[in-house]
Amino acid sequence: MEFIEDIFSEIDDREEDLHQLVALLKKYLPDGSFQLVLNSGKSVSSGDKLDLSRESCDKLIDMAIKENGLIHHELHKTRLMHAMLIKELDATLIFVLPTQDPDSVLKNYGLSDVKLCIELFNSQKAHLEEQDLRKIQKRQINRKVKVLENKYNEILSDNLKANEELREHSRLQQKILDTAATAILTTDAQGRITTANEEFCSSTGFSKDDVIGKHRDTLSDRSCKTDCSLFKADEKQQIIKKRCTIRTKDDRELIVIKNAGTIYDRSGRFSGGVESFIDVTDLVKAREAAEAANIVKMEFLTNMSHEIRTPLNGIIGMAELAFDTNLDDEQKNMFYTINNEASSLLDIINTILDFSKNNAEKTELEEIPFNLRILTEDIAQSFAYRAEQKELHFVSYLTPEVPTQLMGDPGRLRQILVNLAGNALKFTEEGEIYIKGEVAEDHKDWVKVRFLVKDTGIGIPKDKQSIIFECFTQADGSTTRKYGGTGLGTTISKQLAEMMGGEIGVEGEEGMGSTFWFTAVFNKQKGHVAVQKKDKISLKDLRVLVVDDNQTNQFVLTEYLKSWGCRTETCSGKDALSVLRESVLSEEPFNLILTDFHLPEVTGFDMAKEIKKMETLAKIPIIVITSIGKIGDAKSCRDIGIDGYLAKPIKQDDLRKVIESVLGFSKEENPKGQNLVTRHTIVEDNRKEVQILLVEDYPTNQKLAMKHLQTAGYQVDLADNGQQAVEAFKRKQHDLILMDIQMPVMGGYEATKAIRNLEIELSKIGDKKDSAKSEKIPIIAMTVHALKGYKEKCLEAGMDDYLTKPFRRKELLDIVEKWSRSRSIKGKQLPTRLGLCSGENVEFKEADAKKSAIDSAEPFDPELTAEGLVAGQNPKSKTDKANAPINFEKAIAEFDGDKEFFIGVLEGFFENVRGQIETLRQAVSDGDADLVRREAHSIKGGAANLTADELSQIAFKLENIGQSEVLEEGFEFIGRLEKEFQRLEAYASNDKTA
């Protein structure tokens, strides 16, 4: 206690204590006088007044403190004073006791009493203080308990709150689980299911009680450990997404998409997993069904197109044959219409076929060499006539930067251009159509070309431009009704452009015309150097006046001329004469005039006449550019003195050739002579430049010959019959024609004669100095008639050589090589081509008229031919594989070892023959001997090519029956044919699998 007294000594108030002690002393010793004085400060006192001076008081206290107890002191020698230190109170008691008898027994009685009283007081005080302390301590402990109680309650309520939050949270989670649209389950570390939600129950049929506690692997065939790589220690935090299966209560298997994750407890120990899945069984099945349906749809479309094509070919063929019969004008018109309509139907079907093939991604692009300039100019050429009919300008222009010797699929490129140009033509009533090709990207080995097809037609509203490339969509449903068409053209174009590594798009506004554009990537032909300009006459610095009112034409002509170094001037028709007159006076007169025939105020002829009348201008050569079919009279051109003609659309090469030839004629008269050197012939030794026209009706043979020729690097165009061949001859310059003899519509002899007649006609119209002989195109007959005398017959018909079918690859290539090399001058002179068009109708009649005569002139010797075939072609098969319907080894060798292609051809052949057998049956029952002959003939050739000799022989016999027009045995032979064919098919399918 002492140290505490000390701590609070400054503050403590002890007066009360002093009073109490004095009162106690007074109680027991009423006679005494007592005064208590605090040692510190010595000021506070209590009790009786002893009338002590300050000094006396201090002296007594000091003495008591010194003595540490009781002292007696006689003050002033009169008063005996007692002083006693009371440590407990830090005070001193000064007292006087009443005087006693000195002799009394009870001496010092008073002093003892005082001591006792003080002790009593001290013990009472200590007791009280002890009591008080206990009381206060109890009170304080109670307070602290209260504090702790409050604190505890606070903590408790906090905990309750936290608990309630947790419970709320867990209720929410349960709600989320049960509301979730995906099935959710959790497992413990051993994979036993601990919870499952409502969706789980409804999708699997299990109740919660069914599954909780079960191992999750009971829900599937494969363990999740292996299936989902779940529950692997290293998959921490990661959510695994898997498609797998879950077994339902009624033992169905659901296909599910599952998310699964692992759970780890606070100490990082693996404690379980969560799985959540969606049942996609129906979706998967629906998708599979949709995919299958789409395949079926596309196959159906493809098959249907094939199926429709076959009878359609019949319709077209028959309609064409009907032309040969005696028809009056009305009937002719009807057949013409049938033919036209059937042809457009065929076009539509072909388009659909293309679309469905592209859609099924079955189309494979070719990678063959082609000349882009020739291709675009050809297209322009083919559109020119139709454009002319609608009085539209049709211009095609390839910028000089565009490389022309390219690799790619010219057929497909052509298809896009024809589609777009066809649309432009369809939707344009006036103005012009402009096809342009330009370089989009030029790289070392490849080039990206951008093509534009611009028209001044009805245009496409902006909001419809994006859907124009979707399937079966035109800008407006009504356009289909008004203009016809499937609306697939642009879709196919898009597919093809994208396959060629490009894009497609359209610009323009409604009523303002459209510009369709697309890009395509082509490899450049390797090792090809642009040599054509070398060795040619230089046209550098040639002064040319271009008279044309059409801006686009003017532009294209000027661009071509500039690319050769010419210096050009342009003017309209009405200014031409004045421009020319002025030029006479200038330093540099014109060397050449290029004028359009259709000038707004004066025709090209009339202007030429005017020019020729003027002495100063008469010597300037004039080339008139005219539209096909307009210039009926080439003679009048020459009469007027026009030096050259050129039909629109202008081809760059043609223009050049005409200019060269025109300037060549006027060489002597040319006052300056200039740089015009002699005309060189370009030795064409590049096979890639050799254009072959293959005339063949039978698809198998078409494919075969095409494959051989294209592989060897030739450019091949195909004509299905003689008439097409004649058309092709007129449209395009070929270097060689391979001509089948027996074909529908127009046979090989007739076609050859028609072509030869045309050539004579052309040579008359054209330049007199160029002999007709050098212009003769080599025509090689392809015939199965390996008989003596046939060669003569072929040569008589105007052919140059002949090839016996079935031919070997080498034979074909040798003969083609021989005749393409011999033809050193490539290309005919241009004025010649111009004349072709005017003679169109005449030649056809001639050719048609001769047809029957030539056909009937074919001799008939079945035995010899059959033996020749067997002995000549297949001696080995007779011995080694006598029973095999086909000699695969040999046939594949014929196809250069290209087995895949051979199988393709074979399958094509099978498909054809299946149809032909039906056709033959029908023909026999209809008594159509000629049809029997023709069908049998084609089967014979095809079979022989594929080394199916037995089939070929039976077909040959059937052909003879048809030839003899006695059809009684027809059915029997068709039966034999069919049997052999089936044997062949079975053999082939066995062999393929082996």
């Binding site: 701590i7 503050i11 403590d12 307070r143």
Partner: protein, 283 residues
């Protein structure tokens, strides 16, 4: 002469206080702090977790069952108590021995602060019957300004200590004259910065104030009283430090002498029980 703000800024730049402790002090002063966040923060310092658990399980809290996790500790002793342990543990480090032990001993100051903290809590709980957590916090931090002074302006502070003569002028007067500010002002700013409860801030600011009315049950009153009692027990902040009690408090103590005596009687026992709380490792 630097202002209190400048000194505090400099002090903060020295990053003397552990980051976790600071962050925790802020978390605790926010009413909405969740136990989980608090626990997460503490767990960032594994030694802190060990220390906290040791303190929680010390005789000072007198728990019957051993506590083995922070969340459990929170549940058992409450967030505020835990906060106090965190703060105590956090600032203990800055009271490590300084270079002028003979003139001013940081360790001595730390014992003083710990004792004032514990005594304040006792006064609050045993005399006023109120939760003593904030009183403890105020007590343990009341002289934190001295540490700042010693850290940032040591020469000046040593000068103050040397010049100080008991009974002449109050200590803060010397500080103001030599340093330009005093530890009450600095401590107050720090409390403000840590976003401590308002009465804790006031208690730190006013613990040497003698003029004006001071409510004995306020934190200021409690800390002043505790400061007085502890200094009498020779747990002095500065050797020879003479404290003046405000008049109001003197009267109150005299009038309730028995209470204070009883409380003080138990103080040494409490201090020894709380050794785990304020003694440094290894001591």
């Amino acid at each position: 002469m630097p202002t209190a703000e400048e000194m505090l800024k400099k002090f903060n730049d020295t990053k003397t206080l552990p980051h976790v402790a600071l962050r925790l002090a802020q978390l605790i002063s926010n009413e909405n702090t969740r136990i989980s966040e608090f626990e997460k923060m503490i767990k960032m310092d594994p030694t802190l977790v060990v220390r906290l658990l040791r303190v929680v399980n010390s005789p000072y809290y007198g728990l019957r069952r051993k506590v083995d996790s922070i969340s459990r500790a929170v549940v058992v002793i409450g967030m505020k108590s835990l906060r106090n342990i965190v703060v105590t543990t956090g600032i203990k480090e800055v009271f490590a021995k300084g270079p002028h032990e003979e003139i001013f001993s940081r360790a001595q100051l730390w014992l003083h602060c710990a004792a004032v903290g514990i005594c304040s809590q006792m006064i609050s709980e045993r005399i006023f019957g109120r939760a003593g957590d904030d009183a403890y916090l105020c007590g343990i931090l009341h002289d934190i300004g001295i540490i700042v002074e010693d850290q940032v302006a040591q020469d000046l502070f040593v000068q103050v200590c040397q010049n100080y003569t008991p009974n002449a002028k109050p200590f803060v007067q010397y500080e103001k004259e030599t340093i330009g500010t005093d530890h009450c002002e600095i401590g107050h700013l720090l409390a403000l910065q840590w976003n401590l409860p308002a009465d804790v801030q006031d208690g730190i600011k006013d613990h040497h104030k003698t003029e004006g009315e001071i409510l004995p049950s306020s934190l200021t009153g409690i800390v002043q009283t505790a400061d007085y009692i502890v200094s009498r027990l020779n747990y002095k902040a500065i050797p020879e430090m003479q404290l003046n009690l405000s008049k109001d408090l003197g009267i109150y103590i005299r009038d309730n002498m028995e209470e204070f005596k009883a409380m003080t009687k138990d103080l040494p026992d409490e201090l020894s029980k709380a050794k785990e709380l304020y003694e440094s490792e290894g001591e």
